[in-house]
């Protein structure tokens, strides 16, 4: 997938440079881009490590566990196939908490565990049940306390306040999450009505 996008980007810029007469700039951009990529990674490193470090403290001191326990009954209402004290719900809740705190390395394995636990009690075989769909949609619209990569890029670009966008991110992200949840619920209501 990404291979095609990459191909598309390179071919489009090559073709486009003939129309705009900017072949020289594109030639220069190849070398500059390689250089910029490395600079970008280095200038992001500090802010990234700050947050992965701080969030590791949150994880080890039990904040993650507390949030996760608090979320279980709430999430169980959204994913009614799995009760609040089931193994599946424990993994689901731990994954969503890890995503919220930006513990990316922990979140993905927990999410995979959650899906495997959910699949164990899935009566639909290789078809995703509504709770599984809900879980994946919540993950794609994920809410994050500190959008780390974004803040790191803003700091690297010389922003006077890289975190000034936090309230906007929280609001936009919650609204998108609500929209995703509503869409899943609406789709399952619609299907139920159609079937009977």
């Amino acid at each position: 997938m990404l291979g095609y996008i990459w191909l598309g980007m390179i071919v489009s810029s090559f073709l486009c440079s003939f129309f705009t007469g900017r072949t020289d700039q594109v030639a220069a951009a190849v070398t500059q881009g390689a250089d910029k990529g490395v600079r970008l990674l280095i200038s992001m490193a500090g802010v990234m490590c700050l947050w992965t470090g701080i969030m590791k403290i949150a994880d080890k001191s039990g904040i993650t566990g507390n949030i996760s326990r608090f979320l279980r009954p709430v999430l169980s209402r959204l994913m009614p196939d799995y009760p609040a004290d089931s193994e599946a719900m424990k993994a689901i809740s731990a994954n969503i908490t890890a995503n919220f705190l930006g513990l990316g390395n922990a979140a993905t394995p927990l999410g995979i565990k959650a899906m495997k636990e959910m699949q164990r009690n899935n009566r639909l075989g290789d078809k995703a049940n509504p709770s599984m769909i809900m879980f994946v949609v919540i993950n794609t619209a994920s809410l994050q306390l500190i959008p780390t990569t974004c803040a790191a890029l803003r700091a690297a670009a010389g922003s006077t306040d890289p975190y000034s966008i936090l309230p906007q991110v929280w609001i936009a992200s919650s609204c998108a999450l609500a929209a995703g949840i509503t869409a899943v619920k609406a789709a399952s209501l619609f299907r139920r009505r159609k079937n009977g």
Binding site: A29, A45, T108, Q119, S142, Q144, A172, A176, V184
Partner: protein
Amino acid sequence: MDNISSLLVPMIITGIVIYGAIRKTDLFGSFREGAAEGINTLISVAPSMIGLVIAVEMLSSSGFFEILTCALEPVLSPMGFPAEIIPLGLIRPVSGSGSFALLSNMLSQFGADSEIGEIASVMAGSTETTFYAVAIYYGSSGIKKTGCTIPAALFADFCSVIFAVMTVKLL
């Protein structure tokens, strides 16, 4: 709004560190462990990030984004919607590294604290890479029929673009 956000970050960090101290967590050991994970993550994304930054820089210098923006502007600007953010909206659900490479290009071109820079940041920060999550989670559990997952997730992504524009313009 500016005062709130400048207080938030020190508050979150101090809060977590104090809580960790109360619970007798190995503070600096944990920090180092987490920071080491951060470095490893950066190293693991470095090859794709460098590859995509090159492609984005080529695309940007060729004038591709200007042509696209000019084509979309007559439709979008009457609604108060900046056409410059459309490429980011398109790549965000597909590639994480690609969207961060493009965000970085936009931040240096328009300015990190400009309106477009802020909208782009909010967009990039408020959703995950949809197709990556779908592929990894359904792939690992052997699910083949995904029902309404992709339409619902893309609807959420679409909403996040609208809400990013609205929150930056209104707050």
